[in-house]
Symmetry: C2
Subunit: 141 residues, 2 copies
């Protein structure tokens, strides 16, 4: 299955998720680890679409999510910065998910500057991330 | 907002619904009315995307669905047959929603032959429609 860029934009406008997790991690100086991830979840019947996304971006994994759901997931920060972010900069999302993506990108750029390694930077990332989560709970049906 | 065909395919692969309702109607010879409809539901924040779909297809309406949800909806059989169906024949869906669309199209073509006006034809439409509904409840998260 070959995908076109605009199909991917439309599909991600509907089904994609730009998430930033913040997890306790005593090994980190701040006590927390920042975990950005891009995911697309589908019924297992449509796993081939997820594999086609993986092939298109040349990164990420396709794994079982929960129950009969599969997920395409990109967590590697280099892959997010060099493949996922440039794609959606070149091909903008059309729904409000564009705002979610922009915040996600801001967190990644902050991390490039090492912001997640300082208390102050982590606080800023938390602020951006809480806006992200606010948007999503708003969107849930 | 201008939409490209492939964006629409991707978005409908994620968010679209091809539904055939069968409702009691004592005015019909069979006692039932067959109501095919194509819908895309979004948070009201993304109503502009629904209006862009309406502009693209040149048919249908954008209405409140329930709560903070809006829906783009096409129910007119001529519009479904002459605008929606040809679009998705030319630009095939990539997920299993393609199968849902094909059954939806079969019902519309049966109706063109007047099948919904006879007991026998209505039974056949019921069979196709129950498969459709089976697929969807399967897909719900």
């Amino acid at each position: 299955m070959r995908l076109e860029a605009q199909w991917i934009v439309g599909f991600v406008d509907g089904e994609g998720c730009f998430h930033v997790g913040i997890a306790r991690d005593p090994d980190m100086r701040t006590g927390y680890q920042v975990l950005p991830e891009f995911t697309v979840v589908q019924h297992e019947r449509d796993a081939q679409v997820l594999h086609a996304l993986k092939a298109y971006f040349g990164c990420g994994v396709v794994r079982r999510n929960h129950g009969d759901r599969m997920a395409y997931r990109v967590r590697d920060r280099r892959h997010l910065l060099e493949r996922i972010v440039p794609f959606f900069m070149k091909h903008p999302l059309k729904t409000r998910k564009r705002v979610e993506f922009q915040k996600f990108r801001r967190v990644l750029l902050k991390m490039e500057q090492g912001a997640h390694l300082t208390e102050e930077g982590l606080e800023e990332i938390r602020r951006i991330t809480s806006q992200l989560q606010g948007m999503r709970s708003d969107q849930s049906r």
